[in-house]
């Protein structure tokens, strides 16, 4: 066990620090923040991601030949920490980097990797995820979106839902049913679909936060080349499990932890400056205790991810344990945003845009958005089933 850094690692850290100073706008995180408008923010994040790529800092753990820099675990942890310290924005192509990319690295053909991976990192191709359907939520294996082979193509018909960032995406990875006669887990395949293909349409879904990340996506006689099948025909469930293990795994968790830590530190700052009667709101022992609880929980989220990383490096296979990370962080983060509103007390209801709103409504938005954490990427109930049955060995 060792958390210290070698001279090479310190150099990596200093290089990154310098790059962040040079690349972030002056006053970033103090007086300058992301655009408030959702669409502007998406484009801002895409531009930031392209900037990261040009600096050699996007997808750092990927192999060099696909545009990464083959970063070690330590470098990834340093990267996460420095991005948190600098309060750097996140990128737009999270699904491309964390899910499409990692799935292709594990299950794609060399041709598929060469075709798709570099453009994910360069920000030229943003990805979305076509897994859930209106009648296949927690019961994901019951998907009905159908793909029928026709010569050198699959013809896809059906509907997907909760397709985050579909409005910005050039590509989508799609779970489709390729054999309705097989048991439900066995007749599924994993396809890569160009979002410009004829027959794809989408409808935005407004979320409880008022944001519009989600979409419904419709596929009407959409022709997908057979070369875009990942893995074997009817082998899609196994591949989807890889995708989900990454979606719930430590890479994703460490990236999110940065955001939560940034919000938490900004909250401490906000509450310290908030006057309540003759004193600072930070003098209230009840608020202090709740804030401390969140500091504890968010720090342990980081430690859980680092431990999971180390175990993966030592050859422990990725699997159901990722559900433990996800179940933990989703509830810890919900607690954080609830605590944030409690700490703001009488000012908590004032929304962003109002001149008296603390931190311009950031914590209201965080609170509303956090309701999704325990639903997406497998609800907490599904995660608990997975942990109970596959980690603890309880009977079905």
């Amino acid at each position: 066990m060792d958390f210290s850094f070698s001279p090479e690692e310190l150099k990596f850290r200093n290089d990154l620090r310098q790059w962040l100073i040079d690349s972030l706008p002056a006053g970033w995180g103090k007086t300058v923040f992301e655009p408030a408008d959702e669409d502007d923010r998406a484009h801002f994040r895409l531009e930031w991601e392209r900037k990261l790529f040009k600096g050699g800092w996007n997808g750092i753990n990927w192999p060099k030949k696909y545009g990464g820099r083959g970063a070690t675990l330590v470098e990834q942890a340093i990267f996460a920490q420095e991005m948190a310290i600098a309060r750097a924005p996140e990128g737009l192509n999270i699904i491309g980097r964390n899910l499409a990319g990692t799935t292709l690295l594990k299950h794609g053909t060399e041709a598929q990797r060469e075709r798709f991976l570099p453009k994910i990192l360069s920000g030229d191709e943003v990805w979305c995820q076509g897994f859930s359907e209106p009648n296949a939520g927690s019961d994901l294996a019951s998907i009905r979106c159908l793909a029928v082979r026709d010569g050198e193509h699959f013809v896809v018909n059906g509907q997907k839902i909760w397709t985050s960032f579909a409005q910005y995406a050039q590509w989508c990875f799609l779970l489709v049913r390729t054999d309705p006669t097989l048991p439900k887990h066995q007749g599924i395949s994993f396809l890569l679909v160009d979002m410009k293909t004829k027959g794809i349409s989408m409808r935005p879904l407004k979320q409880i936060s008022g944001e519009n990340e989600f979409n419904e996506t419709f596929f009407d006689e959409v022709r997908v080349p057979v070369a875009n099948l990942v893995g074997g025909l009817n082998d899609g469930w196994r591949i989807a499990m890889t995708t989900l293990a990454y979606e719930r795994g430590p890479e994703d968790g460490l990236g999110r932890q940065i955001r939560f830590k940034q919000d938490l530190e900004r909250l401490l700052d906000t509450v310290s400056k908030l006057r309540r009667g003759p004193a600072s709101a930070m003098d209230d022992p009840v608020i202090r205790d709740k804030l401390a609880r969140s500091i504890v929980e968010i720090e342990i989220m980081r430690l859980n991810c680092l431990r999971s990383f180390s175990q993966a490096i030592h050859g422990k296979p990725r699997g159901a344990e990722a559900s433990m990370l996800k179940l933990y962080w989703s509830h810890a983060a919900q607690n954080l945003y609830e605590t944030a509103l409690e700490a703001l007390g009488p000012l908590a209801p004032i929304a962003g845009g109002d001149p008296l709103s603390p931190a311009d409504g950031r914590y209201q938005l965080g609170f509303l958005s956090s309701r999704a954490f325990t639903i997406y990427s497998g609800t907490s109930e599904i995660q608990r089933n997975i942990i109970a049955e596959r980690v603890l060995g309880l009977p079905k």
Binding site: M1, D2, F3, S4, F5, E9, L73, V74, A77, E265, L268, D269, S272, M282, P285, R288, D289, L291, A292, R293, I295, V296, E297, E299, I300, L303, N304, L306, R307, F309, S310, Q311, I313, H314, M324, L327, Y328, E381, Q383, R384, N385, I387, A388, E389, V391, L392, G393, L394, P395, K396
Partner: protein
């Protein structure tokens, strides 16, 4: 960077587990480690090299750190090992870090072989965990020092050769630690009744106890030494509570895999599964916190204070949660004395309120976090 243990550390853990046996403790309602088994326990642990672990090689030890002991402490929690073992370990660390050359020379070789037992006397009835409010004081009459005051909940003081007593020195000299021989005149011990019958705790009263200068740890009052002892004790308690919680989780999972109701194994019901899953996540996260604190303590990390308090508060909350849930999923049998689960609950409660409870440590966490951010507090 690596957040995992090495093969030797796992092997050390395995040998300790092999010796302790991994049966649930207290089954049949018998007190764990009572009578003869307590004596065998001490000599067995000494033979395994646990007491020599923290002792530097020049004093006959292994020169290891708290990282090497983290998994072993977790095992002690699993097996409800009485506190005197851990008291001796944290006192050893304080002596290694802060002891004078003579103190090291006279004590460490005997500690390494298991010949010397120590107990730490820190908490007071009124001051609680607050060192600044301690009433116990060492006063100099120009030549000699005298110790007066009283401590509560001193773990197994009656078995200790020496007590390591926290005291103020008055006159702006801060506080520090002094060695007091248990049999010294003016030392009075009274066994206290506590929630945990599987370990003994004493009230220790000191009346004008003569303290030769060489019995002051490091020779001078040292708040750092006292803080170190407190942090090491809190870290050890975090690992112990993680072990308690881990064992209760395992016992509970085993039980719901074989208990049937409504014609089905109760472990197949989601109401039970989900409780078990939440327990598993809590235990795993408790390990992250406990192991990181052990590393921070061993390496003197910049965030040591925060890391220790994160571990003590989170592991304490987890042990409480898991012990409560463990009894719940056992149903009626879980509430019986004879099943023995209550011994884990009781030990967890004792540890939860030792060396700072969760609320105390969360206040340390927020103070440290605000200090790190440079935010005026």
């Amino acid at each position: 960077m690596n957040f995992d243990f090495n093969e030797e550390q796992y092997a050390f853990r395995d040998s300790v587990r092999g010796f302790l046996g991994d049966r649930p403790a207290g089954v049949g309602g018998a007190l764990p480690w009572a009578g003869e088994s307590a004596r065998q326990l001490w000599s067995g642990i000494a033979e395994l090299g646990v007491f020599s672990a923290l002792v530097p090689e020049e004093f006959g030890g292994l020169g290891l750190t708290f990282v090497d002991l983290a998994l072993v402490l977790e095992e002690f929690g699993r097996a409800l090992v009485p506190p005197s073992v851990v008291e001796t370990l944290v006192a050893t660390d304080a002596i290694v870090r802060h002891g004078s050359a003579d103190q090291k020379q006279s004590m460490l070789p005997r500690i390494a072989t298991g010949q010397l037992r120590l107990a730490c006397a820190i908490i007071e009835q009124v001051a609680g965990y607050d060192m600044a409010e301690m009433g116990t004081a060492v006063v100099s009459d120009g030549r000699d020092y005298r110790l007066d005051g009283s401590k509560i909940l001193v773990p197994e003081a009656a078995n200790a050769d020496f007590l390591l007593v926290a005291a103020g020195f008055g006159g702006g000299r801060g506080n520090g630690l002094v060695f007091v021989e248990r049999t010294h005149s003016g030392v009075e011990l009274r066994e206290q009744r506590t929630l945990d019958p599987a370990s003994a705790y004493h009230e220790a009263v000191f009346r004008h106890v003569a303290i030769p200068r060489e019995n002051i740890l490091s020779g001078e009052p040292s708040s750092d030494a006292l803080q170190r002892l407190f942090d090491a004790s809190a870290t050890a308690a975090g690992a112990l509570m993680t072990g308690v919680a881990g064992k209760v989780l395992e016992t509970s999972v085993e039980y719901v895999k074989q208990r049937s109701q409504f014609g089905k194994l109760v472990g197949s019901f989601q109401a039970i599964k989900h409780r078990c899953a939440d327990m598993a996540v809590a235990v795993d996260s408790s390990r992250s916190a406990a192991y990181y604190a052990a590393w921070s303590l061993a390496s003197g990390a910049a965030d040591l204070t925060k890391a220790v308090s994160i571990a003590k508060s989170f592991c304490g909350d987890t042990a409480r949660f898991v012990c409560n849930e463990g009894i719940q999923v056992h149903g009626g049998i879980g509430f019986t004395w004879d099943l023995g689960l209550h011994f884990y609950l009781r030990r967890a409660k004792l540890l939860e309120y030792s060396y700072g409870d969760s609320t105390y440590h969360r206040e340390r966490v927020i103070r440290e976090a605000l200090r790190e951010l440079g935010t005026a507090d």
